[in-house]
Symmetry: C2
Subunit: 491 residues, 2 copies
């Protein structure tokens, strides 16, 4: 089964595409750039949604739903936003089709042209702030902390499943506050929610930082990001949280009367993660055999495969397997007992490896006789014969160990792939020969940042929050710098 | 607070609009026909989703996600479907905006015209069956039982919040089967899932039946429906499940090799419920004071309001209220303790009545001294003083009783509003004077059905599954009929 996938060492990009398709995660659709998320892929996304949604609610947010369409004129209201978002997008111009009078099937009815074109939302700041205007009069109406789970469309020219698609699924939080400080605290809180999710659920270490002015969200005063390192040495931006200042409040005239009765503009944040996280999850951990899923996000955490020659053997194994299954289910474990007679055990083993099931139990007549079961870990591919006595507790512990081990492995990989360089030559050499995260001094100017990007395709992923102050000089211009920033090539 | 709403007797339609707005359920947006679902309304929808999603999974379905856009040509592939769905819809014709060279802000880039227009999905049979073609080769690939939670767009000219909006949220199940019988069983199973949900969660009695040929889903061989009666005597179609035969398989050439290796077209069903259920829920139970929510779908099931003169009293009440709250929460009850100091108890009482919170506890110093609490039911508006001893069990029972009572009330209302008529004059008279469900004999022809609709605005809501055979004659034509069908004016 391993040869189903192109090995990473041969062609990482092809390996990724193979894996997404073969593990039944997603596929391209008949509509250019739009994907179909298949049930197994969607089940992982649902686990992500469920954890994140709970965290959002625990931090005081409520879900709501805002329109798919945005009037074209709304994009012009926030100067920076229009350049960032009102370009490559799907434009609805008509609202009716008709039978072609010349018999050429159905055509757009030219009479049904919209007065103002509607844009399929690429992000919802504008439509939401036009709504918040009606919700906010006084400080008593604040804060507003809404989130929505939605589809958005950005007309990308080059698309890749999960990583960059014309339509994708995401959540977008949009909050409104009475003070600057509260909006900044919200922005920072949410990037921490994301990093906590990435590290404790996706088992994926991330670097938290702020974007440079060039890389900020269109309309934001500050963009916080979590950056993860993929196995090919490229960075993947995995979530962002934006402090929007009063920009959208000013664009949509959203004011509130403060406690003294004076009118002020409202302060804003927005933050989001998307199905791009699926791409991050796949590329952070998987191997040439297939997916490696952290147990907390695996739709099937344990699979039990019976090995038998006849119905009698199967019946005996099934009795034990069903007992283990029901005990594990009662402990909150997602278990599948695969007694499908159409496939051989070897085929099943390979299939569940491909799909990243964290723990596989194989059980044959000899195991039954010995009171044992063969336990295989997906993360290390190790097998071990374990006593059936107390097997459920053993598996619960093992799932926890796998969750941690996957994180440790990714963490060690990142440590080994993190470089500190002081000269531009060394910078280029490291990027070309090793890739990974590169910490270097930068003079803080857009000009230098753009030059580095043009020269090397590496960008400043972020100015890490926990980066210590350190006097140095910009590797390109020699101008002074007081802190290293994080460079990488990226998705 | 009651005078916030137009009374139902004065203007039912205005009452509905008032209620949707004032109870913070939804509002119109800046985009014609598209609504904003506000947090309180969305919380009810989330409870509906959660119950339904569980039922879908228990019946063997998996969630997936298919593209928002459908190529225009797909609609022409199924003859009946094109007439039903490819008319009033949002058409994407361009994929880019640009700055107007004449300085008139942003305009559609004429260079970025799509070769083939994309339709924002009004329903997804076509895009899903074009996908299933790649998933299905052999009987081993069947059945496929997918559901998706999604937004859809139908360009309605006259819109009403929840009941008829250009964009709405829904779920759509799409299943593929090897045999006709299995597809029909699936179709019937899902209409039963919907009726069970309507009756046991929404406390809303429904009549299950099949649609006449005229009223069938475009492309279906049989459409099952659940029909509910609203308080103004009009019917509301609340969910449908379609047996699609092999129509979409033939349109998209989806065949499978059966066990004998012979190729056959695949059999299909599709089924859906939408945010229209919110409209049904509101209109089935609510009164001139506001929403009446069945406890199983109420975001807040119990609210506790303290009545106090000073901080000392509040502290004592809060201690007891917090204890009750945590005990109720541990029993799975959604409780809110509203100690907000900005509002008077009377304002809060009215507010929670408006929002349909099933149980309200009011607690003052005298209650504390007596070891009692005042319990108010939203459904009957009755108040009772109850001992604090065992209050949690009392409330859990009360929520159950309210759930049942709301159903009984709606059931009794439907019984009182159901009429059996045998002449067309009586039929018209009942419709005009009483409204409600009218059971009458019909000759089975489209001509008669259309005549009745044109004469009276009443349609055949369904041919109920449990309607007994009964010899009779059509009230219009006098031709023989062997069963009464259900007529009503409807939303």
């Amino acid at each position: 089964m391993a040869d189903v996938l192109t090995p990473r060492s041969v062609n990482y990009s092809q390996w990724y595409n193979d894996l997404v398709m073969k593990a039944d995660l997603a596929e391209n659709s008949a509509v250019r750039g739009c994907m179909v998320i298949k049930p197994y892929g969607y089940a992982i996304w649902e686990k992500m949604q469920s954890v994140l949604d709970k965290k959002f609610k625990e931090t005081g947010h409520e879900n709501a739903y805002f329109p798919l369409f945005i009037p074209k004129s709304f994009f012009s209201k926030e100067a920076a936003h229009v350049d960032g978002f009102a370009k490559e997008c799907a434009v609805v111009t008509h609202y009716r089709l008709m039978n072609d009078p010349n018999g050429n099937g159905i055509v757009v009815d030219p009479e049904a042209k919209l007065e103002e074109e509607l844009i399929v939302r690429p992000t919802s700041e504008t439509i939401i702030w036009s709504t918040y205007k009606n919700w906010i009069q006084s400080y008593r109406d604040l804060p507003i902390k809404c989130n929505q789970w939605a589809n958005v469309v950005r007309w990308e020219m080059r698309t890749r499943l999960f990583l960059r698609t014309a339509e994708f699924l995401w959540q977008e939080g949009h909050t409104a506050h009475a003070t600057q400080q509260e909006a900044i605290e919200e922005t920072e809180q949410m990037i921490k929610v994301y990093s906590d999710f990435a590290e404790h659920y996706m088992s994926m270490p991330v670097t938290i930082g702020v974007k440079t002015a060039n890389e900020r969200f269109a309309g934001a005063l500050e963009t916080y990001t979590i950056e993860a390192l993929m196995q090919d040495g490229k960075a993947l931006q995995s979530g962002t949280s934006h402090f929007l200042g009063q920009n959208f409040a000013k664009a949509f005239d959203v004011k509130f009367a403060n406690k003294e009765g004076k009118e002020e503009f409202v302060w804003a944040s927005s933050w989001g993660v998307s199905t791009r996280l699926m791409g991050a999850l796949i590329m952070a951990h998987s191997d040439d055999h297939g997916l490696v899923l952290p147990p907390k996000l695996a739709p099937i955490q344990v699979v039990i495969v019976p090995i038998y020659k006849n119905d009698e053997e199967l019946a005996k194994i099934s009795a034990v397997a069903n007992e283990i299954t029901s005990k594990l289910v009662s402990l909150g474990v997602d278990v599948k007992y695969d007694s499908n007679d159409n496939r051989k055990p070897g085929w099943k083993f390979a299939q569940y490896e491909l799909k990243g099931v964290p723990v596989r139990l194989a059980m044959g007549p000899r195991d039954l006789a010995n009171g044992t079961v063969e336990v295989a870990r997906r993360d290390t591919l190790q097998k071990q014969v374990v006593s059936l006595e107390g097997i459920e507790a053993y598996i619960v512990d093992l799932l926890d160990e796998i969750q941690k081990n996957i994180f440790t492995k990714a963490h060690d990989f990142r440590a080994a792939s993190t470089h500190y360089v002081d000269s531009y030559d060394e910078f280029k050499k490291v990027l070309d020969e090793k890739g990974g995260f590169v910490f270097a001094h930068w003079d803080g100017t857009s000009e230098t940042e753009v030059k580095i990007k043009n020269d090397t395709k590496a960008t400043i992923r972020c100015i890490p929050l926990d980066q210590p102050d350190e006097a140095g000089v910009c590797m390109v211009t020699g101008k002074p710098s007081n802190k290293r920033v994080l460079f990488a090539r990226s998705y």
